[in-house]
Subunit: 327 residues, 2 copies
Amino acid sequence: MTKVKEIGEQGLLERLQRFCPSDVIGDDAAVLVTEAGQSLVVTTDMLVDGVHFSDATTSPEDAGWRAAAANLSDLAAMGATPLGITVALGLPGDLSVSWVESLYQGMTQCLQQYHTPIVGGDVVRSPITSLSITAFGQVHPNRIIRRSAAQVGDAIVVTGVHGASHAGLKLLLDPQIGKDLSTAQKTALIKAHQRPQPRLDVLSHLPLIPIAGMDSSDGLADAVLQICRASGVGAVIRSSQIPLPTAFDHWLTPEQALNYALYGGEDFELVLCLSPDAATTLVKQLGQGATIIGTITSDTRVLLHHQNTKIPDQVLSLSQGFQHFSQ
Amino acid sequence: MTKVKEIGEQGLLERLQRFCPSDVIGDDAAVLVTEAGQSLVVTTDMLVDGVHFSDATTSPEDAGWRAAAANLSDLAAMGATPLGITVALGLPGDLSVSWVESLYQGMTQCLQQYHTPIVGGDVVRSPITSLSITAFGQVHPNRIIRRSAAQVGDAIVVTGVHGASHAGLKLLLDPQIGKDLSTAQKTALIKAHQRPQPRLDVLSHLPLIPIAGMDSSDGLADAVLQICRASGVGAVIRSSQIPLPTAFDHWLTPEQALNYALYGGEDFELVLCLSPDAATTLVKQLGQGATIIGTITSDTRVLLHHQNTKIPDQVLSLSQGFQHFSQ
């Protein structure tokens, strides 16, 4: 198997250029055309081997898909449609060229769904494989989705089920669990983890009113908490309304299912706050798990309310999330 | 000294946010406004500890400055004025917070000269310190500088002296050399290496005619060769015309000096091809080492011509440059 060091930086760049449109190659930087009157939206992510992906659970194709999806999801979370991405790679010389090509294959498979080109990048030597993606999109200034725009009385919409990605990861890490699940159910959960879909499709359904929101990449609880903190408001989330994969019904306890949904992360759905009428219309249009899960309140707390039970309301807090460095 | 793992990802991001304008913080992505009719220019770089910088020769401030300067230089090489940069950091938990803050200090010192904000980023755990910068700029479509636009008969202009950065690195690596240099000369050469200046100042002097070019970050020889390859032309470079630091005169042999200038790299000057009349005017306006060093020819070779000597013309080739992976 050909190694990166055998073909060198220039040789590798030439192989990777077939994943890029020909008109962006060969200059110090790429040139993109934005539409008049649109704002530019920019987001960046770094992924490190052994921290964010690993050959043990993730093929290079899936690592590429997930990296692209995470960045497109950040654009969707701002209301922006993608223009392109750049990819910077740090690679050990002993890595196989086919691994790198598979990574690019996965990225472009995800990007092609949204007609998004890889417009540039960098390839450098590094003792550890790492990947930094920067994505650019555009949005009309009136249609920017911000975390800080939630209003008291807004309905909180999630665009789909939560917990599936985390369940898929669990199944990959321990194939012994989930024996009660059908093969189709397992496959669907694993796919939710390996091939998450950024919800760019949601944007065309959004009404022309101010909308607050973000994506649920760090978990549903984190998204609601971040929006409330940025907007200076609180929320009540009705636990029974949180949409879950049907596969959870006979597999997980209600507590486990709720934990997966609230804290699992990487579902890459959107969490949106808008007027109740507009939210009802949006949920109907989206279908497929889109649900109103709660309401923005003037409280500063985020309460998880368990209907029809004696369990008292829980106060959610950011500290229940994890701190990546201290793990 | 506080370590990164002690304050966590969120704590570190909060400390770094003081280097960013307040209006870009707290969403999934940053929003930038581009001027109507301008094209967007995007470039990305990854830098890895031990490969591209090292505490042995580079303070974190200088590493930050150099990283920012390299990306701004890529924008200048496209004719674009900067709008902002994003910064993705991979950090070991044991790294000190002050190291990271110093890195940001150096970056912002360079960026502030050009009113360029850090508009976003990512901080992740990694076994090795690495840094990925993506820079965005804008340029009127008629003023884009491309490598592929060189015309036979164009004069080749360099915007300043070459070889200084490499000489500065040599002096840092071995303080015993350069004994014939004055302290001021040494300081100037070392500064050329530690604090290179992207030549964004050149853009306002460029005439409104098609200009080919790139920056000389990978060496002057590489720049001329890349332009010629992209444009399908050749060049004659007159070795005696290549502007060198005056400190080289009594320190290096003519061969050493020429090698530093052609292959040293990281001078971050611009190499521009334009009509001889316009080139003469530009060189006068720029002053400070700006020189016409040669001519674009219909040959496909790049020849180094040594005037007033018996040394035959040399043919320059890309293979004389280095391949980063095979080192």
